[in-house]
Amino acid sequence: MVEERMKTALQSKLPEPPDGFGERNDQLISSLMSGREKQYASREKHRILVPAIVIAIMMMLGIGIAASNGHWGVFNWLSENRSQEINTDQPFMIEGETPFLPPVDTDHVTITVREAQSDGYGLYLSVVFTPKEKDALAFNWGINPFQDGPEIVGLAADYKNQALAEWAVNHGYHKLIRVALLSIPYPSIPKEIKTTDEMAAYLEEQGIPFRRTKDGAIQYDHISSGPEFDSYLNNKMMIEEEGSTLIMVAGGCLSGQEDYQMNWTAVPCLMHEDGTWDTKTPEWKMDEWRQGTISVHIPESTHSKPVILANYVGTMKSMNRAEDDVTVKVQLIRTELNDYFQIQCPDLERSYQSPWLYLEDEISSFARSGIHSYSVQEKEGMLVFTTASLIPGEIPDKLIIRWYDSGYDEKTVIERVD
């Protein structure tokens, strides 16, 4: 009886979404999908070797430098959000060398990895896509040039509500080239693999770490095999001279990793022959879609020694009384490039069930500027989550961590112990 009353009361007049809700939601799905279309394109391999040309850079923390040509670069990007207020006894120095790569020529664009930096926790790249034709304009994948304005890539609009495509035509560009850079984190599992034993054999052959759960299932897919990133809207990006676009990307690293591979993709879109833009109908040249792979090598010897700013310890209590509590240790680490929280969880079973451990939003808000890097790896019987994070003005005395999917969103306070 109470059940029926409850149901009737709650369902008597369900709130309706506002007009156009479904259409707007479809548009969102469409824009998300457009960033993934590239996954299905055929791949062509363009592997380049890292040159022996190296330039030693020595700099103090906070002194931004872009690259040898003085462009805006990785350090400018990182220092935009990094707190300068935490003092440590040790100044941070880049002790090693920064590799620079020769440009890669493709049909539509020349790709230049202007900077590649790593500190063993995160990978940071500054990559420029320069169109080969003078009247072409390159832009990052997440942008819709027929809806988004030129401000999104750091350009001044000629008038209010101007779309990037309109701006391009007005400034002599008659071709748009949509470009993207994305990591290659996971191998695709061949279709013919049906059983867990076959899957285990395949993963073992590929060298992909995996675990078998108590019920025999195989879990592997949240353990990154490399840095994960893609160039998208929240990444730093800007259009430079001659229609080239600069994209900054960040990804998490696994310890000991020195080689990083990534996919690039480029699809041209022709503007109207008469140089006008009035029908708002893009003509994407899908038959001219190009995609390939480039790689960078950053020796581990170039990583400077990290400094541990603080240690935290806390107990995560389980909602399920039958389960033991879990002691979680967190370290706040600073390198010359960025700040990181490294969370060590000894309960592998539970960690695998809820891998989306993350810090309270105020701390992890770095992600919003596209400088997010995240990695998970199994190390010495523990799961180690490393996340680049924005540290507030001073080192916090306590942290709040949550399991992303935890029942009822129980929070755990982690106290500083030194």
């Binding site: 009886m1 109470v2 059940e3 009353r5 409850m6 149901k7 009737t8 009361a9 709650l10 369902q11 008597s12 007049k13 369900l14 709130p15 309706e16 979404p17 506002p18 809700f21 479904g22 707007r24 939601n25 479809d26 969102l28 799905i29 998300l32 999908m33 993934r36 996954q39 299905y40 984190p185 996971y186 695709s188 279709k191 879990q219 897919d221 949240h222 909602m319 399920n320 069930q353 809820s354 891998p355 989306w356 939003d361 399991w403 992303y404 999917d405 935890s406 029942g407 009822y408 969103d409």
Partner: protein, 162 residues
């Protein structure tokens, strides 16, 4: 599951559940635009986690879980707290006039959520367990406990009213 198949499952799950997601977000946020934003955030968050989701059948529950997280995040960001009075206003929108709503609005958020998922959104206990990441038996026993408590309070009130 191949990526393409997983993405199709994602689209189907979003289209099938977005109105439900909107209602749940609205329950937290009281504002139509904010609720829609929370749905968008949840869709985007799920998309970004798609490669980590092993079983496409889990997508609807995952979407709702992300909606709850997105709505809570918005609340925290705005430093707004959810008062029982506000929740009651929302529930009163049902215009049922049933005093049972008053008991619901006085409950802890987690208990309200449990009952809303069960009785407003008609979700199965298995699915609720999946959304809240608690054992199915716990869902069942908590609902029974909550209903018993409401029943006792209703009887007491009716007895007081003669």
């Amino acid at each position: 599951m191949m990526e393409y198949e997983k993405e199709q499952a994602f689209i189907n799950a979003v289209r099938g559940r977005r109105e439900q997601m909107y209602r749940i977000a609205l329950g937290y946020l009281r504002n139509s635009q904010d609720a829609e934003d929370a749905v968008s955030d949840a869709v985007e968050a799920t998309w970004k986690s798609l490669k980590r989701i092993r079983n496409a059948d889990a997508l609807p529950a995952y979407l709702i879980r992300c909606t709850i997280n997105a709505a809570r995040y918005q609340l925290r960001k705005r430093h707004k707290t959810q008062s029982a009075e506000q929740f009651s206003e929302f529930l009163a929108a049902g215009e049922s006039g049933d005093p049972i709503i008053n008991y619901l609005s006085g409950m802890k958020e987690r208990d309200q959520l449990l009952l809303i998922l069960k009785y407003q959104e008609n979700l199965r206990e298995k699915e609720i367990a999946s959304i809240l990441h608690i054992p199915r038996g716990t869902v069942s026993s908590r609902i029974i406990t909550l209903l018993k408590r409401i029943k006792a309070e209703l009887l007491e009130e009716e007895s007081d009213n003669g």
